[in-house]
């Protein structure tokens, strides 16, 4: 209150300031900027994405041509600094190209599950009643299967391949997303400010847009980013089992599977795709933690 006198007591200016006022997301961004760990993690992820998108610029060797003469070279071999795999292909090239499929299989299912599951969950939570029962009971049916089993079953039926992997993972991630969005929405829906918005005569869609969505999107988004790491691991798991991407395509899980036989000969090389999976999922997890903190306005 003390510096009130120092500011020009001009309502027009106050109005201007209010219109230019920082929105919630602007504030989140400001807090994110101060969080060095999250920034670093996001930096690593951006580099990773840039690397796999512009893979030819980052690699020298073709990921698909190998030579029997160059099989299982150790890390540090001149020309193949990350070694070569069991058929003599450059491991660095394969890891960069393999990141394409791995990231695709990790991000796309979560994004689709976020769209579909988020929509259904918010709908169920906001409308309630019969709609809620219908959506949630269907979710329960899918929930009865562990997500890896569900994914295995679906790819088992549809056959292997990237598209089927993405489809299977999307389906297995929809139920948890619905769960979270439904429970967050139900919580928010019963708060007094939604009642107050109804009391001001607003229509349901307007209330949804101005009062529900900005309160539920944050938690759902944070939850979804934490799913990405699980999704990458599941996709790798499917490939490892031979249900995901098929050889000779490069994919981290598949590479891990193929290099498994070389574990005794060249353990470090065999572990490299696993290291990539670890780094990526770690980064996504840390990013979701950082997002969660930045989005919590009460801190």
């Amino acid at each position: 209150m003390t510096d009130a006198a120092a500011l020009p007591a001009d309502p027009a200016m106050a109005l201007k300031r209010a219109q230019q006022g920082k929105s919630y997301w602007q504030r989140v961004w400001e807090r994110l900027r101060d969080d060095k760990v999250t920034l670093a993690v996001i930096g690593v992820l951006v580099m990773l994405v840039a690397m796999v998108v512009f893979a030819p610029w980052f690699t020298v060797h073709d990921p698909y041509t190998g030579s029997v003469l160059r099989r299982l070279k150790p890390i540090g071999t001149p020309g193949h600094w990350f070694g070569t795999d069991e058929v003599g292909r450059d491991l660095w090239s394969r890891m960069v190209y393999g990141g394409r499929l791995s990231l695709l299989a990790g991000v796309v299912p979560v994004f689709m599950a976020l769209l579909i599951g988020g929509f259904l969950g918010v709908l169920a939570g906001y409308v309630g009643g019969l709609v809620n029962s219908a959506i949630m009971r269907l979710t329960d049916v899918l929930y009865a299967f562990p997500s890896i089993l569900l994914a295995i079953a679906i790819t088992g039926i549809l056959g292997s391949g990237l598209q089927n992997t993405i489809l299977a993972l999307t389906i297995s991630f929809i139920p948890p997303v619905i769960r979270i969005s439904e429970s967050v929405t139900t919580q928010v829906r019963h708060l007094d400010f939604v009642e107050a918005a109804r009391a001001s005569g607003a229509r349901p869609l307007t209330i949804m847009r101005y009062h529900i969505l900005n309160n539920v999107l944050g938690p759902i988004l944070v939850y979804a980013t934490s799913l990405i790491s699980i999704c990458i691991i599941l996709a790798a798991g499917l490939s490892f089992l031979g249900l995901g991407v098929t050889p000779p395509n490069a994919e981290w899980g598949l590479m891990l599977n193929n290099l498994r036989q070389a574990l005794w000969v060249s353990p470090l090389v065999a572990a490299l795709p696993g290291v990539m999976i670890f780094i990526t999922s770690m980064c996504f997890n840390l990013m979701s933690d950082g997002l969660r903190q930045a989005m919590d306005v009460r801190l």
């Binding site: 106050a14 400010f193 307007t206």
Partner: protein, 360 residues
Amino acid sequence: MSRAKGAAVLTADLPGDGRKKVGEVRPLLAVENLTKHFPLKGGPLNRTKAVVQAVDGVSFDVQMGETLGIVGESGCGKSTTARLLMHLIPLDRGSIVFDGLVVGAATGGLSHRDLHRQMQMVFQDSYASLNPRLPVSMSIAFGPFVHGLAKPAALKRGMELLEAVGLDPMLFANRYPHELSGGQRQRINIARALALEPRIVILDEAVSALDKSVEAQVLNLLVDLKAQFDLTYVFISHDLNVVRYISDRVMVMYLGKVVEIGPVDRIYRDPQHPYTRALLSAMPSMDPRRRTLQAPLTGDPPNPISPPSGCRFRTRCPFAEDICGAVSPALLVPPGDDLRAVACHMRLPGSGHSRAAAAA
């Protein structure tokens, strides 16, 4: 401002009372036989196992410019009444007439949207009733905005209202609810309620959660705003002193029914219903020689799922007799005091209660 005016107005249209009083003014809000029973569902087939009779046949009027206080213990239906008035929950039976128009009527009535322009509400929980993701100026401006005002104009209106509730727009417009104190938040809520220029504001325990000093400030603000914007208040509280300070008339509720209604001075000076008497004698006295030594009422109110037959207060009433269990007393004007109404057999001549006067 309107204490005298409100006290001079009659309690019109009591149930079963066909008389029209001389010089009667059309009430701003006329509530008739308001009823809300919440079903309790359970079991494998989700069948209705019981109903909570939250509000059962409540009738009252609110005159233009007055403040009607509603008091009662927790769970007596005060807040449910408020939400029914606002049409936030659908009512089971009864009618609400606002300024001569039936609310929600199929033809010729007042639509809910129009009702909300004229009637607004302030909630008890100042934090939960503000969107944590919106700056407070936007929360205030939301009402005008959904009713068609452009965003800049709505925000401008929000600024004016911030000023009106004693908060500097320069400092507060861009703040978020968690950056304000409880009193400041409740001021924002009041500003939000006023944004649609309502004629009547329902204050549901609006000051109950505040510190005593802040409570006094907000009460005075409410009194000032009432004069400034020509408002009518329905003031719900369990704090009898606050109700006495702000109200022109008081309505006492017990287990979903009205037990007594009348001008605040008379009710506080001479309560007629045994429950009102017990409630008032539970107020701490400022005089240590007149301290309350005996609890005026013991035990909890009975379960509203299966309320006692007849008069609902009889299980805790020191004067209960057979007639009280047999017949539910209607809310009637006792002889010699036509400004108030009481629902008690003792005040009804010829009711059969040993303390009632003989039939006239």
